[in-house]
Amino acid sequence: MSDSTWDDPNVTAYILGELSNDEADAFEQRLRNDPQLAEVVAEARNVTDQLQVMYTREPSQTLEISRREKITGISSPTPATAQNTKAWRTTLIAMATAAALLLLVGIPSLMKQTTKLGSVESAVAPDRNEGAMMGESPIAETESNEFSAMLEEDMDFSEESADSAELESQFDAPGDTLGGSAIMGESKSKMAAPGVAADNNPLAADREATEAGYGTSARQQALEKSLAVGPTAGSGLKPAAMAPAPAGPASKRSSNAKMNRKMLAEGDEIGALADGGQADPFGFADDASDDDQLASRDKFANISENEYKRVIDAPLSTFSVDVDTASYSKVREYLLRQNRLPPIDAVRVEEMVNYFDYEYLPPKDDADSPFAAETDIFSCPWNDAHRLARIALKGKTMKPEERPLSNIVFLLDTSGSMNSANKLPLVKKGMEMLLTQLGENDRVAIVVYAGSAGLVLDSTPATRKRKIENALNSLAAGGSTNGGQGIELAYQVARDNFIAGGVNRVILCTDGDFNVGTTNTGSLVRMVEKEAAGNIFLTVLGFGMGNHNDNMLEQISGRGNGNYAFIDTDKEAQKVLVDQVNGTLVTIAKDVKLQIEFNPRKVAAYRLIGYENRVLAKEDFNDDKKDAGEIGAGHAVTALYELIPAGTEDESAPPKVDSLKYQSPAGLTDAANRDE
């Protein structure tokens, strides 16, 4: 490399985005004609990327509390707003853990009947003075166990790992169970649907007291409630973490709650568990958007929450399922290691929910369909008048010896940006873990891509561990990334060693920084789609923070009939590559779509929680050309709907559409009235 090329300070200025538009254009012109310059730019970019990571990771301090109070004391006559960011951060982590636990435990245990609230009281009451008087009254039985939700499955699988397996759940369950709750109301001469909630929830009084005392916003009621549910669910939340911060001026707090709502990633109400939990103690401590500019070039696609739909206007809800879990570990990484709130768009609620194992029962070995389905209705923890419907699918499990022959091609990103402890070394560790799961009939190849793509290990039986480990150990990070070329080569190798009827899969391990060559997401996606049609699937494992292109990775794994996980620790690698290896490798159903019909007699409006980018038109359900999500062996999928029961007036429901002039409204079928 010529040193004179390195003499130009514009190289660095270009990378740092300091050139004016004209200058940048001119520079790019030179870049195209001068490969040497391109190399210099790539090397320099590698350096700045590493520096960026280094500075982000550098242990950072905040001002001491007393100092901060001095500053805020000057700027405002009411020092009540002085805050200690550090303490909050700790609380935040506690909250996040709590929220995660809530997701984990809260849902199943909400569905069990008769949980005493005693523990809630002891945990919460000290900070809520006389509020929590309702401690000894049990949560009224949730309806779920009383009424077996009828799930009519109309499954049609030509073979077990049928292509295009479609699961049509003619799902009247919401109608059922809600109908059920109405019945319950009658038979026990208690509880009509809206009433149930109030009765159901002994915390109502508690919250009212709190409201009176603090003048909290409605938002915070929800939060306090969700906090209160925590210990009920047995999450062992520490009281300290739950205690509301000393009350500031009421108006201030509510506006903060709103602000947090906005900046906090959840986007979704199930997230309100986490969201609410954080909103209070975190207050106005942090400005996530500012932080984002500072530290990270991570890219996320925009997520906008699903709206409520009226059952009358749209009785069918159709979406594609899949069991990516990347979002959860990603958020965990943000909260625990970076001490920051994740960007809103980093949070895909369905991935948070699907991350955890709810111990759904798999289908029996002799069952016709590869899925077991389960449905439930239970009260909605953040809105008494609403209900949550849970729809769960569990794919059949597979013993290791049943797993078909596997032809696996690892595609490893060894570009300079992978050069950090939580990236390439973790990739190697993960691969070693996976190797222990593979047998003599499985084949492994390794393709790397950096400045140029190369085949490090041609397809080798997995039993030749020494050879594979040597290849792994020879890997080192350096150079820039050409994702496009590497992926072509990987598919090539996979095709050459194709095992008919077996598992043919490319596993891409990257931090997602495709910065040279075909970086166009569209063309990558097309290639991945084409190969998926040829039965070579793609799994994406994301590593590391800093310049993670979440959007692209989720897209290509979705189109490549694969799954997408984000690996931040050894434990996560263990989970994805060892504990759930069958789910990761073996797809039991392709293009799984779910369609759910709601009964307008029972449900006024519904809202799908999460799956924002997976909503399909109702016609797509029967259109086998429409790509949809995949389910691996043993995978479980949970979808949650928030329902507004019929007869409830609710401002969150969308306004009615004027009735049609030229058509009469479709009437209800008899079935609608039969509560089935």
Partner: protein
């Protein structure tokens, strides 16, 4: 504009402290050779001055203003320190305590680059930090350090180049 237009609302100050306290502390701490208490003093003083400053005058360039005030403050402190007799009780011990698991995971590769950065000239280290940690533009860095914009670009590029060379060797 009225009088009230030039003062700072508490929320704004809070937001600014949240936004800048970490990079400012890191910057000051580095310039003071790891003197953590000194850095806290300097940053506190910087924010206190900000509160007294006319908001309209500096609002448009608040980042550069904060760093240059902090820088001046640090340089003043260094001068005073030199003239005071040595007092061991005044020597602050840096308390950089990341959580243990993180420290182990990151220590190896971060330390290496960290060491390399430590071998750069002070000037280069300063501009690197201002650009990549504090996120200041070349123009803002020029304002803080008193260099010309071209000079800032030159130092940054030299720093990147040096690091690339030493990374290639190691």
């Amino acid at each position: 504009m009225t009088e009230s237009g030039s003062t700072w609302p508490a929320e704004t100050i809070n937001a600014l402290v949240d936004r800048y306290e970490r990079p400012l502390l890191a910057y000051a701490s580095r310039m003071l050779g790891g003197d953590w208490q000194g850095a806290q003093d300097a940053v506190q003083e910087t924010f206190l001055r900000l509160c007294r400053e006319d908001r309209q005058k500096i609002e448009s360039r608040v980042a550069a203003w904060l760093f240059s005030v902090c820088r001046t403050r640090v340089i003043d402190m260094q001068r005073t320190n030199h003239s005071t007799p040595f007092d061991s009780s005044q020597i602050a011990v840096a308390d950089e305590s990341p959580d243990a698991s993180e420290a182990i995971m990151d220590a190896e590769d971060r330390d290496h680059l960290y060491d390399l950065v430590g071998k750069l000239t002070n000037r280069q280290q300063e501009v690197l930090r201002l650009r990549l940690q504090a996120g200041l533009s070349y123009r803002e860095i020029a304002e803080v350090t008193g260099l010309t914009i071209g000079n800032v670009g030159f130092h940054l590029h030299a720093a990147v180049r040096n690091l690339r060379d030493s990374l290639a060797i190691s």
